[in-house]
């Protein structure tokens, strides 16, 4: 099971003054069960890229294959694809519309053609898995706090039981605790349900902590694709395009510059801590 992108190009407002080449020859293979991070500054093409994965945007050229099937084939069921590749947009709580949280979460399964009972069962499981307390289920979504609304909206996508979960900056606008809660939830889904997860983020610290593979987008092309350690080893090149590495990576390089044998490939706080402690203990 996989998603394959073969030389995908996408051009906005083709042949007008505002023409933008949003994706340029993007080729990727996304394997089953991966936890992938996508970084890149605003306008690098990352939002356009993820909208290709569930067929919301059609590539100008190139092919996209879901489990070996071309999603642009005329007889391909794109509606079904959308429930297999669940896409959580930025500020997803802005799409809540039903009178109760529970009814809103049922929207997806109902669109899949499930019976009322089945839909409710799925909504029940989804709301449980985002850990939204039951007190809130039958309230209006607009009475919830920001973090709770966000979780309810994510449940709305999870209720469709997608095989792949794509999240576009799921922590935007949340406070530090809220950010941690959402990311821990996503990590849990990946681990326990073996879901393929694709996380678009602006926070280098977050992607370093959670993902196994990191894709860097720049001006519509894939700039780097590898483990966080591999990608952040290019921290100087990343800076040239307006991105950066996690703070600890810089720290490790600076320590090495000053003669402390710290691990230059550390990208998370835990790795940095272990490496520094080890350097100190080896000296003694």
């Amino acid at each position: 099971m996989s998603i394959i992108l073969d030389k995908v190009n996408y051009v906005y407002s083709e042949k007008t003054a505002y023409e933008i080449h949003a994706l340029k020859d993007v080729s990727l293979k996304i394997n089953d069960g991966e936890f992938i991070g996508i970084i890149g500054h605003t306008g690098s093409g990352k939002s356009t890229l993820i909208q290709h994965l569930n067929g919301l945007v059609k590539a100008s050229s190139g092919g996209i294959y879901y489990n070996g099937q071309d999603i642009d084939d005329d007889d391909y069921n794109r509606k079904e694809l959308r429930s297999k590749v669940g896409l959580v947009f930025q500020y997803p709580e802005h799409q809540l519309f039903e009178t109760t949280v529970f009814a809103d979460v049922c929207f997806g399964p109902k669109n899949q053609g499930l019976s009322r009972k089945q839909s409710e069962l799925k909504a029940f499981t989804a709301l449980r898995s985002v850990r939204l307390p039951e007190d809130y289920w039958y309230r209006s979504p607009f009475e919830l706090s920001g973090g709770q609304k966000r979780r309810a909206a994510i449940a709305g996508v999870l209720a469709m039981e997608p095989e792949v979960l794509v999240l576009d900056e799921p922590t935007a606008g949340l406070d530090p605790k809220g950010r941690d809660e959402i990311l821990d939830l996503v990590a849990k889904l990946h681990k326990e349900r073996r879901m393929t997860v694709i996380l678009v983020s602006h926070s280098m610290e977050d992607v370093a902590k959670y993902v196994g593979r990191l894709i860097v987008m720049n001006r519509g092309s894939v700039m780097y694709d590898g483990t966080p350690a591999e990608v952040f080893a290019h921290y100087q090149e990343l800076e040239e395009v307006g991105l950066a590495a996690p703070q600890v990576t810089y720290l490790m390089h600076e320590l090495r510059g000053r003669g402390i044998p710290a691990n230059g490939t550390a990208t998370t706080l835990e790795e940095a801590k272990q490496s520094i402690l080890q350097a100190f203990s080896e000296k003694r």
Partner: protein, 266 residues
């Protein structure tokens, strides 16, 4: 797509027309529109065409750009032309099946098509050469006398300019919400009218909520910046007539008389 609409967009350029006072442009556009419905022969048509060509040339807006605005109304144009072509009584020129084309029909259809195209081109010159704010400023000042009969002219103008600022934002937002609901399996296309109307709920509810939230935010931001209505407000660029504006008023008057005279001549 929703973004391809060119009518009502400003095209920045450095031309005589761009620099005219918006009140002058509003007046001239009004005169021009009236003239479109007054001419009824080839001489009048020639006068109108000449005037329009002159203004387009002076405005420095590429003709191709302007014509693109016509795309949006092609259907209306076609329907009008067909109606005039087939449904005008008179001397039959051609007839086939149950349809017949008369000489008068041909003439009517041609004039109607010209009128509509000229109407759109002419009024798009106004919006292409005038920023929305200038336009509302112009309206506010032109309609100021109405203040005396308690028409809230300043408030209406402010509402218009805010609407113009937020239309593109709300269009983008509609696009975003639509995509998000599609991702949840929504279907905005299939089914009959009742079903379609029902399917709009997941789109319209979030859109309204967002619009209200924006309105609320904006009201706070305006208050924070000391907005308290039109009373005691000054302007960064107050409208002021220049010599050229008076010349344009004269020219517009001359043009209008010419069109009326040509109507009498033949």
């Amino acid at each position: 797509m929703l973004r391809d609409i060119t009518i009502g967009q400003y095209y920045p350029a450095d031309s005589v027309i761009h620099k005219l006072d918006p009140r002058t442009k509003l007046m001239a556009t009004l005169v021009y529109i009236l003239s479109l419905f007054l001419f009824r022969n080839v001489a009048g048509f020639a006068a109108v065409t000449l005037w329009l060509a002159l203004v387009i040339w002076l405005s420095k807006v590429p003709f191709g750009y302007m014509v693109r605005g016509l795309k949006a109304v092609v259907i209306i144009l076609l329907i009008t032309v067909l109606f005039n072509l087939f449904l005008t009584p008179g001397e039959t020129l051609v007839s086939f099946w149950k349809l017949r084309i008369t000489e008068e029909g041909l003439k009517n259809a041609a004039f109607m098509a010209v009128r509509l195209i000229y109407l759109i081109l002419g009024s798009s010159i106004l919006t292409l050469t005038t920023t929305p704010n200038q336009l509302t400023d112009g309206l506010e000042k032109s309609l100021k006398p109405l203040n005396k009969i308690h028409v809230p002219v300043h408030e209406i103008a402010m509402m218009m300019s805010i609407a113009l600022r937020f239309i593109p934002i709300l269009i983008e937002e509609t696009d975003k919400i639509m995509k998000a609901q599609l991702a949840r399996g929504a279907d905005f296309e299939s089914g009959n009218l009742v079903k379609k109307a029902k399917e709009m709920v997941p789109l319209l509810v979030p859109l309204f909520i967002s619009a209200f939230r924006r309105a609320n935010d904006l009201a706070l931001a305006m208050e924070a910046r000391c907005y308290h209505g039109g009373e005691g407000r000054t302007k960064m660029k107050p409208l002021k007539y220049k010599h050229v504006d008076f010349l344009v008023y004269l020219a517009a008057a001359g043009y209008f008389m010419a069109v009326i005279l040509l109507r009498r001549l033949w």
